[in-house]
Symmetry: C2
């Protein structure tokens, strides 16, 4: 049987009817790309998920309002400046940035979403943004290179690109879904940690589009942590322009919805893991599994606590099988569990049984911890809930990067 | 007018009727001191505050039970081994350790409190503990050196001693209160981060002793953070043997109670700050003040969030006036406040006004941040509540110490 979901090469403008570009407009030094534009030829359905930080960047706040209509033609994002904490001028500038795009495309500014990522507390250089938008409009096309260019233009401290493209078979129609992300693992609140744009040509109702994004977010972007700081500019935007012409998906119970959600989940988990893996100074990707929890809340509390613990993260960097730090972080997580029946595994190696030390093989533990990807599993033996989170280790490099960020 | 509270030199056995010793029994390498004993000649009133971590060390759990009687003659503490996560044998060993002391002093084991600090998941070497207790009993006296010895015997990764002694004038009686602590700033859950013992010869009712400790804890030991991890062996024990023979303090409204609580607060804040200052790899003590909060909870949430943020802490290490990280940490703290009216100060320098950037003097900011003690102030302008917390910066050294702790 033919697989319903296939990974293919391609960028954010792979789905039909999407165009993209990324240019340098002079916000960043050394002519680095810093302005990205993604345009749909027709009105797209649009939804988003935004930071819960009560301090919010001005470009993001504007988008939170604008997206309420559920319709979008273009997304414009600058990097190098977060457009945050600068007062009324910040809102005015976000609106201006949208209007630059709208005027050129001859559409309403209400159909243009805005995003900014970079240093907090500085005004956007609007002359540069204006000429940058002109350049970006001219560069718009559906070539893979232009798609990659838009990825480069939203990156800040990222050391790797984060892109994924999938082809889905829905009722015999070729449906594309593509995503890109920036962020070194939620570790840069002053740099608007994390932005992701996802495009699809799938024909799906606006309600279901929104439903799928919220559901998938909790298994992907809400399951990564680098230092637990959440940014003022975090956002994930999902656009669907329906150009694949599959029959509209209108029910969460339909097999077509199921396959769409599955593809979106594969895509988002992949992007989220790429962010965790690219955590500042990260040398390892750490996957943490909680097994057999009594309820979802307890599982999540434990995951958050363990994945944020600087002591667990430095132990991973030091390749030290120090499970005492894991059980300690579980203990102060706020989750209810019985420490005297839980087991802990590093990879497949059982290091703690029923809350007590196991006489394990340290050489074997070291070998597991030396790998670039590490699995930690915590079996609570109290129920049937399973949850997973990804984090990175804490290295010297992390301190170096973050000790002198603005200079 | 003569001051009612005077700082004097002295150690934990300065208050009348207290004896102390610290010896090496071979748990730690290189004959380092690892067993401390504090004894009161008569029955002391006793109270304690213990970790909220649901995983608890066995020696600590035993003490939580034993102290319910409110009476104590001796406290025995070993360092180098946390006696945690080893199952039933851990409880049995804690009980044995108490019995070794009780037998020698010819008292009930129920009057002996136990503490252990060190690596999790290893059994206590009971033969070493037994001979250690014998040595410690022989070494018991009221000399200042023996007091200091007991301080050394509870230290683990501490690089500095943490002791304080005060003389209080209560109704013309000389009342002494002395404290010692170990801990590199709540950063070592697997090392039982933080233990403090406080002794006084004050005559005070058991209820008020307990009341004073709980009140003062929230202004001192509960106001320090190094990395937000809370240990399985944290405890603070307060003993009062009444030997000063002042008239018993029985009312929280009496001037005598007021002066006692004030002295206890001075002592505990001093010990707490010494712990934060000695945070692993710390190069700076950072005091964070929240001003004019609407309520205590919001003030505390903001303090906790800012003082735990790895990004704020690395910025302090890097002497970078990156207030964007401070407002970001405030924003995700869970506290309710209006980000558009709050001000932020680094030392006396206003860097953010009404939630927006101020064009401040970077050279002046750098000069403030280069000092070993830094003040950050956050004015919420929403009420009248003030609160303070202490933390340390995050350095390369922190990663180094914690990356290879067990080896």
């Amino acid at each position: 049987m033919k697989s319903k979901i296939t990974e293919i090469s391609g960028a954010i403008n792979k789905p039909k009817g999407f165009l993209a570009s990324g240019v340098s407009c002079g916000i960043k030094k050394n002519n680095l790309p810093d302005l990205a534009l993604i345009v749909s030829e027709n009105d797209s359905k649009a939804c988003g998920v935004f930071t819960k930080n009560i301090v919010k960047g001005h470009s993001l706040q504007r988008t939170m309002n604008t997206i309420k209509s559920g319709i979008c033609r273009a997304v414009v994002i600058n990097s190098g400046n977060a457009n945050a904490c600068v007062g009324q001028k910040g809102y005015d500038d976000a609106q201006k940035m949208a209007r630059f795009v709208a005027d050129k495309l001859n559409i309403s500014p209400d159909k243009v979403l805005t995003g900014s990522t970079g240093v907090i507390g500085q005004n956007l250089p609007m002359d540069k943004i204006e000429s940058g938008v002109e350049k970006a409009i001219s560069a718009l096309d559906c070539s893979e290179q232009s798609g990659h260019d838009s990825q480069y233009a939203i990156m800040t401290t990222d050391t790797k690109t984060k892109e994924k493209c999938l082809l889905i078979d829905i009722n015999g129609h070729d449906v594309y879904i593509a995503g890109m992300a920036k962020g070194s693992g939620m570790i840069h609140p002053d740099m608007a940690t994390m932005i992701s744009i996802i495009t699809t040509d799938c024909n799906i109702s606006g309600d279901l589009l929104n439903h799928s994004l919220h559901k998938v977010i909790n298994k992907s972007f809400n399951r990564i942590s680098v230092d637990g700081d959440t940014s003022v500019c975090d956002m994930v935007i999902l656009l669907a322009n329906c150009k694949a012409e599959n029959p509209e998906i209108t029910s969460t119970l339909s097999p077509e919805y199921f396959i769409f959600e599955e593809a979106l989940e594969i895509l988002c988990i992949d992007l989220a893991k790429k962010i965790a893996q690219d955590g500042e100074g990260a040398t390892k990707l750490v996957e943490i599994n909680v097994l057999n929890a009594k309820n979802e809340n307890d599982a999540y509390l434990i995951l958050q606590s363990v994945s944020k613990s600087p002591l667990v993260k430095t132990a991973m960097f030091g390749e030290d099988a120090n499970w005492g730090r894991i059980i300690t972080a579980m203990g102060y997580s706020g989750a209810k569990f019985d420490p005297e029946i839980c087991d802990i595994y590093i990879g497949d190696l059982n290091v703690c049984k029923n809350g007590s030390a196991v006489n394990f093989d340290e050489t074997l533990a070291k070998a597991i911890l030396q790998k670039p990807e590490i699995n930690l599993s915590i079996d609570l033996k109290q129920g049937e809930i399973k949850d997973t989170m990804w984090t990175s280790d804490f290295s010297y490099e992390y301190v170096k990067i973050n000790g002198s960020y603005r200079s």
